[in-house]
């Protein structure tokens, strides 16, 4: 069929484009704030730390922004399926008029998607600069949260297949348990003694690679006492899947007594520990003989 012939066909009775657009805009205006308000608080990783809370805020924004495009796809599909369904009339299996491009729609499409992507890039960068967003920042953390000079240093040591922890301000005591005081800015120093691990404290919104010979710094500001899951998030060998643990945020009084208890329990081995260091290159690296 030629274009001239197509243009002579009578105009459709209903303007599907306009009808769909109105329905979509109405649905978006209603659904977007509902999603942000009611779903936002239930998004991962929860409210366990300032960083986790920031991530929930970010996730709420992302979900809200993707609500209109998501609705567009689902509604378009639904509208097309319903409106243009085969009603069983003779000759219904006929091709529609060909589409020869639409400069307005194409321009709009590019402008809108570019705007969304650029906004998200700016938004994400801004959020990252605030405090590092709970991610590992390497040995020289570029994004230091306010009051970082007074942060409590805690070292996370990955090894096949367990995390252990050192507290340099408490005599460099090492323990297999991660306990943090509530309402405290903590500077985690994540490192490894062997393979590459990844320290993932889900409830705290913290995830940082544990590389041998690297001091990977993460800031996390704890809130109320809680339990959180710890997992290794980097395939690291046979027991990678068993490299999990439960960490605790406790009231500061309990933290002090816990540290004392650990110091006395692990006193026998403390004389054999190397001096606290941001990284370790341990011997033996290979079995002799």
């Amino acid at each position: 069929m030629t274009e001239a012939a197509a243009s002579t066909t009578p105009a459709p009775a209903t303007d599907h484009g306009k009808r769909f657009l109105v329905a979509w805009i109405v649905a978006s205006v209603i659904a977007t704030p509902l999603v942000a308000i009611f779903l936002g608080d239930h998004l991962p990783p929860g409210n366990g730390s300032a960083q986790a809370h920031e991530q929930v805020f970010d996730n709420s924004w992302l979900l809200a922004i993707m609500t209109p495009p998501g609705l567009f796809v689902v509604m378009f599909l639904g509208y097309a399926l319903w409106t243009f369904r085969n009603r069983g009339t003779v000759g219904a299996l006929e091709d529609g008029p060909p589409i020869r491009g639409n400069a307005r729609i194409q321009t709009l499409w590019m402008v809108i998607t570019s705007a969304i992507v650029l906004f998200l890039a700016g938004f994400g960068s801004y959020e990252l600069v605030q405090s590092g967003a709970g991610g590992g920042q390497g040995p020289t953390a570029a994004f230091q949260p306010a009051g970082y000079q007074k942060a409590l240093d805690v070292q996370v040591i990955g090894q096949q297949w367990e995390f252990t922890y050192r507290y340099p301000t408490y005599g460099g005591i090492e323990t297999p348990h991660l306990v943090l005081p509530a309402g405290t800015l903590v500077r985690l120093h994540v490192t490894s003694l062997d393979a590459i691990h990844s320290f993932w404290a889900y409830g705290l919104g913290v995830k940082a690679d544990a590389n041998p010979g690297v001091d990977n710094i993460v800031y996390v500001h704890t809130k109320d006492p809680m339990q959180f899951d710890i997992r290794c998030a980097e395939l690291c060998g046979l027991w990678h899947g068993y490299m999990f643990d439960t960490g605790h945020v406790v009231a500061s009084g309990r933290f002090t007594s816990w540290i004392k208890q650990q110091q006395s329990y692990f006193a026998p081995v403390s004389k054999y520990l190397p001096p606290y260091s941001t990284t370790y290159l341990p011997d033996p690296s290979q079995r002799a003989g």
Partner: protein
């Protein structure tokens, strides 16, 4: 034509499925090291359940305990006195487990000195009759560690003199007349579950960082405690 294509697709699918199953068997067989679970007999006296578990650690598992004769390994003693290469132990829940490890292997040392202190035991770790609080990091041959239960037991090494003497045991099974150390300890099992245990000492000779091969294989330096 149509039927030919369908047959071709079915043929390819069948080959892929069979290959996948074989690869799966190979990997799982490698990981579990063709080891069979061992269930020590439980004794109950005045309502308290306990079991004895007798293990030996050897520098090489030997040709009779194939498929990796030169791999370092744990072995378990069966009731008939035979040493079997098994690292999967079925244990009763909420029971005391009295473990004896005869170690015929020399020192390798720990990458993390922190793991030189026995943890999570009922009473102390005893080596040749002497209680031990912590080992220097260059000492342990192996560890018996169950991280989820908070249990860690470093295994004391045979001395250098013992390793060089004619009584040194090269490969399993090693008789108690050969040079060895005797490590005993007791731990309590908790609720039922499947707990992995492992060695933390990079004891795998000939592997990078001493942590390949037997250190990555159930049936050698890794295993499970099936608490039932």
């Amino acid at each position: 034509m149509r039927g030919g294509l369908a047959a071709k697709v079915a043929g390819v699918a069948a080959v892929v499925a069979v290959a996948g199953i074989l690869i799966g068997f190979y990997i799982s067989g490698y990981l579990v090291g063709n080891t069979t679970p061992f269930r020590p007999a439980a004794q109950t006296t005045s309502g308290k359940t306990s079991v004895n578990l007798v293990l030996q650690t050897v520098a090489a598992v030997g040709p009779t305990k194939a498929p990796h004769p030169d791999w370092v390994s744990y072995l378990v003693r069966r009731p008939n006195g035979q040493w079997e290469r098994s690292t999967i132990y079925t244990l009763p829940a909420h029971a005391l487990v009295h473990v004896t490890i005869y170690n015929f292997d020399g020192a390798s040392g720990l990458r993390n000195p922190f793991l030189g202190q026995p943890q999570g035991l009922v009473g102390k770790e005893v080596v040749d009759g002497k209680p031990i609080d912590a080992f220097p990091p260059d000492q342990p041959s192996h560890t018996f560690a169950v991280p989820e239960m908070g249990i860690l037991v470093p295994v004391a090494p045979v001395s250098e003199a013992g390793e060089d003497s004619p009584k040194a045991c090269g490969y399993a099974p090693c008789a108690l007349s050969m040079a060895h150390r005797t490590i005993t300890f007791t731990f309590r099992t908790g609720k039922p579950g499947r707990y992995r245990w492992q060695c933390f000492v990079p004891c795998a000779a000939g592997f990078e960082y001493g942590f390949g091969g037997p250190m990555q294989s159930v049936g050698y330096m890794d295993g499970f405690l099936n608490v039932v």
